[in-house]
Amino acid sequence: MSTMTVDKAGPTRTVKYGSMSRDRAWALRWSYFFLTLFAIFSLVPPLYMLITSLKGSAEISAATNPWWVFHPTLENYAGLLTSNQFLRFFFNSAMVSIIVVIITMLISIPAAFALSRMKFWGSATLATGVFLTYLIPDSLLFIPLFKMFALIGDVTGIQLINRWYVLLFIYPTLTVPFCTWIMIGYFASIPKELDEAAIIDGASWLQTLTRIFIPVALPGLIAATIFAFTVSWAQFLYPLVFTTSADQLVLPVGIVTTLIKGDVFNWGQIMTGALLGAAPPLIIYAFLMDYYIAGLTAGATKG
């Protein structure tokens, strides 16, 4: 229909062209409308946190406009950043997250490579199985895990419960399956000829992995790293269950357990702590986003 009008007459063509761009303009208007709506929806809570974090306790409890700071103060920030306890939470969180990311990568990368490339008996089933384990909710898993670590403590005398490093064993149950799954997908998108070329060039499986697959699938690895870090950093239920002493707590649990005393909510410091806690993942996102977007596989094959 449209080709007919285009073929037949010039004037019709212009009208058609104009309506095309009008459609496009409307589509843009709608997308801006919804994007703005979505931005407001997701940015208001952090804004409210920022506003509250700049208020003193008196101003928070006073019945003034909650969206405006009349007497800005940095006392909440100063209070937290000089508190050894808060810094300890921060340190614990950082240690747990960084080590978990390393453990996850050390397991997931070879696992994903093996499952996507070294076709062995049952590899497809195993790949699906890996993903299925991720679907078990942590709220269900923490009870048997707790019993397990308690039992290990009873039998061997190695006390893991209420130590921050117990989390190094637990978080990978969440991160490894998902990261393996992501990377199976990335590795599968690498053309088969690339590893065949490497094999013929004389590379071993390990060399193929380290010298071809890891550099080529870097965007995928970074996506998986971001995921593993975020999950570890934001985990709440497991550390709440497994750690109780103040010096073993990670940030999310620490903020909640130490800044809420009975029914007294120290809102200023809670908001400040939450904002400071959200900073590291944000910085990492901003830093790695370029790599994340870069398409490194371009040019490998005909495409």
């Binding site: 000829e193 690339l194 065949e196 490497a198 013929i200 060039d201 004389g202 040019g299 490998a300």
Partner: protein, 366 residues
């Protein structure tokens, strides 16, 4: 440098036999092309030589050693893939030197080998680029360079030109031939393009349905095909196959095409076909260039007949004419000045000195 031989090589995938017992001897320095339609087992055969596929049965030897269980990296082969398979994160030089670096060659030697190969392939000024900055033809050169620097016993090419446009393909074909003339490495080359096979090969191996139909030089295959498949596959436009019978008239052997058309066979042909049963259903195989317009002087074995042309295709130096003989479609090649026009009659001549006679049931050339 080495010879390659395949002895009763079989490849089975579950119940399907992709390659059904292949025997092939490739001499040192030889350029052998495996050609056939898709699914004929040519790529599988190449991949078995490379070691990328296991052999279900039989033996493959490279340089006299059985390599059935030798991993690809120890077979001393290099392979060029259809989609180039360049490492996208490495520069051209790094791509070419990857194999040498893995084998811990001295830096100076790597450098000189890469420079030499790059010069030979005319990509010397591209060595610092990444694959994505190269055109298709340049990428294919890099892929060849990667094979050349290794100086392997055998080159394996898996449809290397299929991704290039027609013009570039012709150019790269010549390039590959030049490279082979310089390095003289034993080469096995897979393609589905019979023109590529004919132009590149010392010997062509025509494969069909997992078996070898015929092995021979390009000229042997063209002029003396062994089967209907080879006769029809090699040559463009393809050979004509006309249903026919042999009959004896006035003491001479004739080939009868239609109720009205029967040609006496030239003496040499008549002697060869004397023993063929007169009742067999036969096919007269004749190439388009042997069906032409009539010449002013009659030649022995060239028999005139009347044809009603359906379609003519002027190609410039010649005109292809299409017509039917007793339902069978026929293609002939005539001079542009022969006066061939769509839908008009033309007096044609068939050169029976170059005919082939095939048994319709067995598909074999008699």
């Amino acid at each position: 440098m080495a010879e390659v031989s395949l002895r009763k090589v079989v490849k089975r995938y579950d119940d399907v036999e992709a390659v059904r017992g292949i025997d092939l001897d490739i001499a040192d320095h030889e350029f052998v092309v495996l050609v056939g339609p898709s699914g004929c087992g040519k790529s599988t055969t190449l991949r078995m030589i490379a070691g990328l596929e296991d052999i279900s049965d039989g033996d493959i030897t490279i340089g006299g050693d059985v390599v059935n269980d030798v991993p690809p990296k120890d077979r001393d082969i290099a392979m060029v893939f259809q989609n180039y398979a360049l490492y996208p994160h490495m520069t051209v030089a790094e791509n070419m030197s990857f194999g040498l670096r893995l084998k811990h060659y001295p830096k100076a030697e790597i450098k000189s080998r890469v420079a030499e190969a790059a010069r030979m392939l005319d990509i010397a000024d591209l060595v610092d680029r990444k694959p994505k900055q190269l055109s298709g033809g340049q990428r294919q050169r890099v892929a060849m360079g990667r094979a050349i620097v290794r100086n392997p016993k055998v080159f394996l090419f898996d449809e290397p030109l299929s991704n290039l446009d027609a013009k570039l393909r012709v150019q790269m074909r010549i390039e590959i031939k030049k490279v082979h003339q310089k390095v003289r490495t034993t080469t096995v080359y897979v393609t589905h393009d019979q023109v590529e096979a004919m132009t590149l090969a010392d010997r062509v191996v025509v494969m069909n349905k997992g078996r070898i139909e015929q092995i021979g030089t390009p000229n042997e295959l063209y002029h003396h095909p062994a089967t209907r498949f080879v006769a029809g596959f090699i040559g463009s436009p393809a050979m004509n196959f006309l249903p026919c019978r042999l009959e004896e008239t006035d003491g001479r052997l004739h080939v009868r095409l239609t109720d009205r058309i029967a040609f006496p066979l030239p003496p040499l042909r008549a002697a060869r076909y004397q023993s063929v049963s007169r009742n067999d259903r036969l096919l007269l195989g004749i190439r388009p260039e042997h069906i032409t317009e009539t010449k002013p002087h009659a030649e022995p074995g060239v028999e005139p007949f009347e044809a009603m042309l359906d379609v003519t295709e002027p190609m410039g130096m010649e005109t292809l004419v299409y017509f039917g003989l007793n339902e069978a479609p026929v293609c002939g090649r005539v001079s542009p000045n022969a006066g061939a026009r769509d839908g008009s009659p033309l007096r044609m001549a068939m050169d029976l000195n170059n005919m082939h006679l095939l048994n319709e049931a067995t598909g074999l050339v008699i």
